[in-house]
């Protein structure tokens, strides 16, 4: 297969996943959140149980008026949703879907690349907050910056633990090296990575930057129309990326009970949706964490446990020879 065609197929496939998976997660969130609250969720859009609700939402956002506040910093304001969205696309490029070649790009430093690129999302929060010329946005953005900065550390430490266990930074390599007993060995790292990941994508109970009952919409307050749709898409793509990372690093990725060779992609997707379900479940159940509680959880609980896990990993690795 000529190089340009192969590249087109790979990037095209990742783009399709980037556009379709967040919509599926979003629709799941509508319905799961509704039933968990004793309601029905969307029922009309598209006729059968409202499956086209997000499509209708997309069309609605596209036809809205494009408003940039008068005192806003126009360039930065316009760039922020793009800066929020593109890193997740890049992250999806290196996450493996199945064994062998079923990945956008099998990077040797895939894990390092993903963590670095997901960190760029912090910049988007600060950009949108500052450029909005709105005190609620600014408050939300500063809270967001503190939160995201803090939770990068346990995220990286937990990921480092499993990279140490696998002996490689390449994501396909980590999935290849994974064994089921790692679920116990890396259990603290799994919990820390998951919690830190949810905090990184600013989902409840870590949605201090957005805090929709206190800060209007936090750093997203001044955004309308297509830009707001991009920020919303970024939220759901973030869920997909964190779920995919948790799956690939800690839950064995494409390894399943049988037929890994040709059903690996199915196991990956099932695990990703299971993790996404847990993220939605947490949103419905838990009240928001206050900033000081959030920071305390990060620096006084997650970081020490992550360091402890690193010591454990190193010890077991040395003991295993």
């Amino acid at each position: 297969m000529p190089l340009w065609l192969e590249l087109a197929v790979r990037v095209g496939g990742v783009l399709v996943a980037f556009l379709v998976l967040p919509l599926l997660v979003g629709q799941t969130e509508h319905k799961v959140m509704a039933h968990m609250q004793g309601r029905l969720g969307p029922m009309y859009a598209g006729g059968y149980h409202g499956w086209a609700q997000l499509v209708a939402d997309g069309i609605k956002f596209v036809q809205k008026e494009d408003v940039v506040p008068r005192d806003a910093d126009r360039t930065v304001f316009r760039l922020a949703p793009v800066v929020a969205l593109v890193p997740y696309l890049l992250a999806l490029l290196v996450i493996p879907l199945g064994p062998g070649d079923l990945v956008g790009q099998p990077l040797d430093v895939g894990l390092f690349f993903v963590l670095a690129v997901v960190g760029v999302g912090v910049l988007a929060v600060l950009m949108s907050a500052w450029a909005s010329a709105n005190k609620y946005s600014l408050l939300g953005g500063l809270r967001g910056a503190a939160q995201l900065l803090g939770y990068e550390l346990p995220l990286v430490l937990a990921a480092a633990s499993v990279a140490m266990a696998a002996g490689t930074l390449s994501l396909p390599g980590i999935v290849q090296a994974w064994q089921p007993w790692w679920l116990i060995w890396q259990a603290p790292a799994l919990v820390i990575f998951f919690i830190a990941g949810v905090a990184e994508i600013r989902r409840p109970p870590f949605d201090m930057p957005v805090a929709d009952s206190e800060l209007v919409a936090g750093y997203m307050t001044e955004y309308t129309g297509l830009r707001f749709a991009f920020l919303l898409l970024a939220e759901y793509v973030g869920i997909v990326v964190i779920a995919a990372l948790t799956t690939v690093l800690f839950l064995g990725g494409w390894q399943g009970p049988f037929g890994d060779e040709y059903l690996g992609w199915l196991w990956t997707l099932l695990k990703v949706f299971a993790v996404a379900f847990v993220i939605i479940w947490m949103r419905v159940t838990f009240p928001r964490l206050r900033e000081d509680q959030l920071q305390r959880l990060c620096w006084l609980v997650l970081v020490p446990v992550a360091l402890g896990q690193l010591v454990l990993t190193a010890g077991v690795k040395v003991a295993l020879g």
């Binding site: 039933h35 968990m36 609250q37 004793g38 029905l40 029922m43 419905v284 159940t285 838990f286």
Partner: protein
């Protein structure tokens, strides 16, 4: 001493349980709501019972009932003079003012006003919320039969009187007083 995280786990269990239960949501326009008996939706008028006593218009706290009438004479064969009766010209209820208290229905001595559970009569123009005599008459078709008495409730006054009369020993028949029966 509870385990750390116990409250969090209990919360998750509650939401999961609610997820698995069937929701009781009734999707309204496709499914009619199940209204309880004696629901107050709209007031219906039985014109033939109305004697234009004006009690309903007087007692209405909002003054939303408008009544006009005139008197008609009717010849009754065998009577010394013509009988008069009230004839209703206009009987409007303004539902934009009505507060659905039911005082008019309660106070009518001739059972000319009834409650109906119909509630889907919203209009685009406020003037259309003034229902005239014909419209109120049309609502009579939607008035449900009165619900059965509560089995465990007290018996009504009529039942009490009938029971009391039946329990009395029959009075002895006295012969008529002397004189020509009239």
């Amino acid at each position: 001493m509870s385990m750390p995280g116990e409250g969090l786990a209990k919360g998750l269990a509650v939401t999961l349980k609610t997820l698995t239960k069937r929701t009781t949501t009734q999707q309204y326009p496709d499914v009619e709501p199940e209204l309880p008996p004696r629901s107050r939706g709209v007031i219906a008028l039985r014109e033939e019972n109305c004697t234009v006593c004006m009690l309903c218009a007087r007692e209405c706290p909002d003054w939303c009932i408008y009544i006009d009438s005139h008197k008609e004479e009717m010849q009754v064969p065998g009577a010394a003079r013509a009988r008069q009766r009230n004839v209703l010209d206009r009987f409007d209820i303004d539902f934009s003012l009505c507060m659905y208290c039911g005082i008019c229905v309660e106070v009518c001595p001739f059972d000319a006003l009834y409650w109906s559970p119909e509630f889907e009569y919203a209009e685009y123009d406020l003037k259309d919320l003034l229902h005239d005599k014909e419209h109120l008459g049309e609502w009579m078709a939607t008035v449900p039969p009165p619900p059965a008495h509560d089995r465990h409730g007290e018996p009504s006054k009529e039942e009490n009187t009938a029971a009391r009369k039946a329990a009395q020993p029959p009075a002895p028949k006295t012969p008529p007083a002397a004189g020509e029966p009239r």
